[in-house]
Structures are given as C-alpha cells and as structure tokens.
C-alpha cells in the first residue's frame, strides 16, 4: 500500500524522479564501466605477462632472481619438470633457457639474448607466435631454426631462409651452430625486436655442451587466472633442495609493483567517484523530499501517522534507488559491452612498453567483473536508502500545522 502511494508520488513529478534516479544510475554506470575496463586491462596484462615471461610458480637456479647471471643453470631439467608435473596434476610445466650469445650473418654480427623454448608449449602462452610478421613459428623438430625480431633481421641483412651462425658466449667456451631464419616477429618493443632470438630448447642446449639438459627456468602454470595457494608449496616440495621456487609476484616484481601502483591510484579515483556520487544522490533526494513539506503536512492533517510518513519517504527512496540501480546497471553493462568485445587499442598513441620483458598488448579489452558490479549496485541502492533517511525522519517529526504553513 505504501509502495503504491510512493510510486504514484514519484510518477507525479516525473522530471525530478528521473533526475534523482538518473543521479543514482549515472554514477553506477560510470563506476561499472570504469571498473570493467580497468579490471580487463589488468587481467590481460597479468595473464599475458605471467604466462609468457614466467609461470604462476617458477623454479630457477639458486640466486638467479637476484643476479640474473646467465651462467646459472638447472641441469637435468627434463627430469625435474617431470617430477613436478606428476606431483601437480592439471598444471602445465614448461622449460625455458636464457643465455647470452652472438648471432652472425655475412654482413654483421650482433650480441643477443638467446631464448630456448619448447615450441608447442610456448606457443600456447607466448605472444610472439601471434606477432610473426613473416615465416612460421618453431616446431618440435625445428632444431636448426631461429625466430628473430624484424630490427635484428634488418641489421643482419637477412630474411626468411637465410643462414646465420649462433654462438653462445658462456664462460669463454664458444660453441656455435648454423641456423636458418624461420620467422621474423614484430612485437613493437625496440629492445625485443632488436635483441631477442628464439630457438628450440634442445638447439640452445647444444650450444652449452658442458651441462646436461640445462634450463634456466621451469615454469608451472595453471589454466585458471589465479593459482591456488597450495601450488607454491607443492612445487617446492617436488623440486627439492638447491633451487629457488618463486610465485610470479616475486619472479616478476616490476609487473607486480606496477599493478599494485595502478590499483592504488584506481582505488583513489573510484573511491572519490563513489563519494561524489553518494553526495550527489543525497543532494538530489534530499531536495526533492524536503520541498514537499506542505504535502507532508497535508497528509498528516488527513490522518497519516508520523511513522507512516517516514515509511512513505523511505519507500520513495527505495523505489528511486531501485529504478536508478536498474538504470545504472543496464547502462553500465551497455557501455561495457563494446569495451569488452572490441576493446580499445592505444597503439596509435604509444610504443608497446615492455614490462618484465614482455611487450604489452596495446589492445585493451574490458572484462565483466561481476563481483564489482554487484558491489557497486548494492552500494548505490544503499546510498539511495541512506539518503532518504534524513528527510524521512524529519518528516516524521513535523507538526502538521507548521508544515501546512510552509511552502
């Protein structure tokens, strides 16, 4: 009954009701869209970087994280990977090796960073196979092939199919092998396009004859976005002594810190938007409710009890809140849709900056962050109801006579 009355009251002043609901809705829309976009950006970045440059948990030679000394290697890596994999079913275990080396063509010779990878496994996680400008990605038996960046190809004056000689500069023992350029990539990062050379794990291992089956990193990944907390311990136990076992937050501190930083500044901004919208909603509701003092007096004179008035106003507040929330939810999702489906490509504005050695995808897509959406929606409903409290209780305490005189 009260709600019907409340509803009719709102309908009587369509413009004001719309503005009030609009304030709630507009603010909710902005918060939902912004959050979805920001969360999407971060999810993409973290997922891509973690998978491409590390893993949810990585096993590295002791002291590698600090010194990044390319001389440090894990011997017998296949056995280690196998042990870890069987102890942790459902995970993907990938091996990688990073060493410094030289690549030479008839025209030039350049110092480069050699990355030995497992072609099939790496294809699933790395962005480079998608950024190939010419040629093809490595295959399991491509021991004689390398993938280099376009800038490097230019410096060496080579193209697909040309021969190059790759040497590893490890402890003075120079070991070199001829390779063919199987593909060139363009990631958009000056550093990577000029210095990254990719080959199969076994090919790079051949360049290091003094260590058996070496790897620099055994990376453990799970298909979900976040790994369970138990993973770290489980991998560490399986690996045993003599290694450093790190979660990605420690293996990629730059990424982790950048995300922390961004989260902080986002929180500040969103927090402020929330405050602003609350006050705005409060303002709008308060005013629309306050100015109906005479009306309140009238109702009282007609027999409505003070508590009834309070309930009426609360009901109006609630309804406005609901309308506004629905409006905001719909609009918020509508705005999020193109952001999630098509995303926003800022490559025209900026060179892809590598973070932790992975060039970020400049095409950012949002994702639907339902947890945030629910939180914001409920919050706005509460704001609306809270905003109605003050005028509602005030209305309850009015003297009919005074009210009638006012206005």
């Amino acid at each position: 009954m009260i709600f019907r009355l409340a509803f009719r009251n709102l309908i009587r002043r369509p413009v004001q009701s719309f503005l009030a609901a609009g304030a709630v809705g507009g603010s909710l829309m902005i918060l939902i869209a912004t959050t979805n976009f920001q969360e999407g950006a971060w999810v993409n970045v973290v997922r891509d970087t973690v998978r491409a440059a590390a893993g949810h948990v990585v096993v590295q030679p002791l002291g590698f994280q600090k010194s990044k000394d390319p001389e440090l290697l894990i011997p017998d890596s296949a056995a280690l990977a196998g042990t870890i994999a069987s102890a942790n079913p459902g995970t993907t275990v990938i091996r990688r090796i990073f060493v410094g080396g030289m690549i030479a063509s008839p025209n030039n010779s350049v110092a480069v960073a050699l990355n030995g990878v497992e072609p099939e496994a790496e294809k699933a996680v790395s962005q480079i196979p998608e950024k190939l400008k010419e040629g093809e990605w490595l295959k399991a038996d491509s021991d004689g092939e390398v993938i280099i960046g376009v800038t490097l190809a230019k410096r060496l004056q080579v193209s697909i199919g040309d021969k190059v000689v790759v040497t590893s500069s490890r402890k003075g023992e120079l070991q070199g092998f001829p390779f063919r350029v199987a593909g060139t990539f363009e990631v958009g990062s000056a550093a990577m396009d000029a210095f990254f050379v990719l080959a199969t794990l076994s090919a790079v291992q051949n360049l290091i004859p003094d260590v058996t089956d070496p790897a620099t990193q055994v990376a453990v990944q799970v298909p979900e976005f976040e790994a369970p907390d138990s993973l770290l311990g489980s991998v560490a136990t399986a690996a045993g002594e003599g290694f450093e076992v790190l979660p990605w937050e420690e293996a990629l501190p730059t990424l982790y810190n950048t995300r922390k930083l961004d989260r902080v500044s986002n929180a500040v901004t969103l927090g402020f938007l929330a405050i602003l919208s609350t006050i705005g909603i409060l303002n709008v509701l308060l005013m629309s409710l306050f100015q109906r003092t005479r009306e309140m007096g009238m109702l009282q004179a007609l027999g409505m009890r003070p508590s009834g008035l309070t309930k009426l106003l609360m009901a109006e507040g609630l309804l406005l809140g609901v309308f506004g929330a629905v409006l905001g939810l719909v609009l918020g999702l509508a705005v999020s849709f193109p952001l999630v489906e098509y995303g926003f490509d800022y490559s025209m504005m900026q060179d892809a900056t590598p973070v932790s050695g992975v060039a970020l995808d400049t095409h950012i897509k949002g994702i639907y962050s339902w947890s945030h959406t629910v939180v914001w929606t409920v919050a706005h409903l509460c704001f609306a109801v809270l905003a109605a409290l003050w005028p509602a209780f005030r209305a309850g305490r009015l003297e009919a006579v005074d009210s009638l005189r006012a206005g």
Binding site: P106, S109, G144, K163, V165, T167, P178
Partner: protein
C-alpha cells in the same frame, strides 16, 4: 699473424693432380697440408696498412708462430702502439697493453670486433683450419686460368660459418692466390688476395696479402711481409703470458 695469412680459413692446396680431381683427392690434399703445417715454426716482420672511411693507419709487427695453434705478435710501430702484443693459444686470445702494463683476455663478446682497427676480426685470428668434415670441395665453375685451380668450398649443413661458399684459388704449385667469400645469396662479401710470392726455406710464400670488404668501397687491410724465416726451433714456452709482457 703469419698463421693468419696462410691459414685463415683454409690452407693452400699443394700440387693438384690432373684434370677433374675427385673430391676425395681434394680432401686428401687439405689433410696433407694441414699435417705438414703442424709444428711448422715461423718468425716474421710485417707491416699492416689499414684504410677505412675514417682513418688510415700503418703498423709494423714482429711475429712468431708454431703451426696454426700458437702465435705471438708484437707491435713495433707506430710509437703509440709499441710494445702491444697479441697471444693466441688454440682458440683463446690475449692482448697485452704496455701503456697500462695489463694483460686482457679477449672475451667472447669482443670476438667479432676488429683486430687493431683493421678489417680482420679477432674471430678470424682464432679460427683454425676446418677440415674435410666441415666442407665439401668441388672445382669452381668458369674458365680456369692456366696454372691455377679454383676450389669451391661449400660448408656442410652443420658447419657454423655464415658463408654460402668460399672460392679458393691456388696455383698448381700450391701457392694461394685468392680467397673469395660469398654469402648464400651468391654475393661477394670479402676477398683476400695473395701476391708477391717469394721462396723461403724451400717453400713458396706470398709476401703480400690484401683483404677487401665489398660492402665498404675503398676500404682495405693489407699485410706486407718484410722478412720471414721458417723452420727454426721454437719452444712452446715462448707462447705464454709471460712472453707477452717481455
């Protein structure tokens, strides 16, 4: 340094047999030459001239070598470089810098760098002969000049060299005339020419070697042997870090 001159990548073939030598024969020749050079000692005084886009230099050096594995070179001129020395033992290289009285091992990162500002890289100095396992040998196409043969050395798939093939021209008497390095795309990348052949210790040795990079027109590095003695007894201990300093 002399080992460089004679042995940069391949060794001059000794007398080549009649028309159409088989690959096995070419191969056998190179093996034989390599063995004959093993333990061969030399002592020489040379002059190296370098002309690049940026500068022109002329240096005088005295060098000792034993086979292809050991060599010691000391710089005599110009005055600024006097006392500098380079020691090669197998595939390791050291430089002695008198200015600072320091010995520095040339790290792998610097191997592709130029040697003393010339067109020859540190790597070139260190590369010994690569034998039959690494190359296949055929006669190069085209008309042959009388008294000379041009052998086309094509690296086998597993050989870690950047070249498509190298054409080595030698006289029938086994004296090197020219070495031309081609990329796989059949483009001439560099040429080494030998001339001024003189007889020393019963052998015919070219006394002038000229190295020309084709992608840098006008530039060259030339080595002139001013005096040469072969076949003396040289102690292995000569080729040590101590000698480097003296």
């Amino acid at each position: 340094m002399l080992c460089l001159a004679l042995n940069v990548f391949f060794v001059a073939a000794p007398p080549v047999q009649a028309e159409g030598p088989s690959e096995a024969q070419l191969k056998a020749l190179l093996v034989k030459v390599d063995e004959s050079n093993r333990g061969e000692a030399s002592h020489s005084v040379m002059r190296m001239s370098v002309k690049t886009k940026r500068y022109e230099r002329s240096m005088k050096m005295e060098g000792w070598s034993k086979g292809t594995e050991y060599s010691l070179t000391r710089f005599l001129e110009p005055a600024k470089d006097r006392g500098m020395a380079t020691l090669k033992v197998k595939d390791k290289l050291w430089n002695y810098l008198p200015n600072t009285d320091r010995t520095m091992r040339v790290p792998s990162a610097m191997m592709s760098g130029a040697y003393m500002g010339s067109h020859i890289t540190n790597d070139d100095l260190v590369q010994g002969t690569r034998l039959s396992d690494d190359y296949t040998y055929t006669l190069a196409p085209g008309a042959a000049t009388a008294g000379q043969k041009t052998i086309r050395c094509t690296p086998k798939p597993k050989t870690p060299v950047v070249w498509g093939y190298v054409d080595v021209t030698v006289t029938d008497g086994g004296v090197p005339v020219e070495q031309v390095y081609y990329s796989e795309k059949k483009v001439k990348v560099r040429t080494m020419t030998y001339s001024d052949v003189k007889e020393v210790g019963g052998k015919k040795v070219p006394h002038r070697m000229r190295f020309v990079p084709h992608d840098k027109p006008g530039e060259y590095t030339e080595i002139l042997i001013e005096s040469l003695k072969l076949g003396m007894a040289l102690e292995d201990s000569l080729f040590s870090l101590q000698s480097l300093r003296d």
